[in-house]
Symmetry: C2
């Protein structure tokens, strides 16, 4: 039987993930040692390292699973026709929700996502592409509808929104905004971005 090994590997990987979810949730990431994790998963310590390169990789694997689910969900009921502002807030807030669920996971994940180690770049770019494939269609449609300027690069627009999201999450971690204000803050920032920071010609009468 040629499949035994493959099947077992998947099983072991799952066992590690399950143990990780359990122990990380119970005692936190830092307080859980690799040895405990291995014991809980019913394997030896060294074996873990033939499934994950580092301890944090285990965490990221979990985060990416969650994120992949989320993106699938978002893609499935992708309604391109609702206003872009509302839609973008919706998308980013659902990601933000994952972060608030476990602050410590979230911190490490954001650190690694925004400013990744050189070694993790490939994996990072993969995730980014998933993102783009979700956002580009939405933004392109919005351009066609006249909600977004057509002379702007889609990449720059995506980046613009993402940058504002980063800022909001950063502000949350530093305690500058509480969880319940996150959404309104993000919406305000996005609206600012759409309308522009400088007085528009049509608004000159107010200035």
């Amino acid at each position: 039987m040629a499949g035994i090994r493959e099947a077992k590997k998947q099983q072991t990987r799952q066992a590690i993930m399950q143990a990780a979810i359990k122990l990380f949730s119970e005692k936190g990431f830092e307080s859980t040692s690799i040895e405990e994790l291995a014991k809980e998963a019913g394997i030896g310590k060294g074996t873990i390292y033939s499934y994950f390169q580092t301890k944090t990789d285990i965490l990221y694997a979990f985060c990416e699973d969650e994120l992949a689910n989320l993106h699938q969900e978002l893609t499935d009921n992708a309604d391109c026709e609702i206003p872009i502002l509302k839609r973008m807030v919706e998308i980013y807030m659902s990601e933000f929700h994952l972060i608030t669920e476990n602050r410590e996971f979230g911190r490490l994940f954001m650190q690694q996502t925004a400013f990744p180690r050189e070694a993790d770049l490939n994996q990072h770019l993969e995730n980014e592409n998933i993102y783009f494939s979700l956002l580009f269609p939405l933004l392109a449609k919005a351009q066609e509808r006249g909600e977004l300027r057509k002379d702007l690069d889609l990449l720059h627009i995506t980046g613009h929104f993402y940058g504002l999201y980063l800022l909001m999450v950063s502000a949350w971690f530093t305690g500058r905004i509480p969880t319940e204000e996150a959404e309104i803050t993000l919406e305000t920032l996005f609206r600012q971005a759409l309308e522009g920071l400088q007085p528009s010609s049509s608004m000159e009468r107010f200035v």
Copy 2:
């Protein structure tokens, strides 16, 4: 003499910083052990921990020194009258320059600045205030000149620019933009922010 102890402490602190700059530059942050650092500074390992709480704190202390110098410099020749776009690009690019000088320092610093550990929040907020005291006057003046909308919160405007800066730095770390494109990218993003992502009334003829 009551001052002996104080003076010595400052001296020792400096010795640690000097040793850190030397060794971190020579062999990198991760490859330098606390024990080596202590030896280079001519003190015992444990003593380091009565000056810095963690190894990374030594790094941050260095970064903050650099940043404080930079901010002093920027405050000194603060010309409030040049266009806000140009001025903001200038300010953020000079900070970005510090980051490019040592990628690894930069990564840790950005990770910690944007998404700080709970324990470091106080220190973080202090730094943020220095920032605000630099930016607020500039932005307020720009509002008066009519370069920025007066109906927007200064905090949100600051955040908006900072968010775009975060995005640009993130894109640099992920290799999406090379060093020489950093400035033009930042300028593009800032201009987008000023003009707005949606078609302005005065531009409707182009749509």
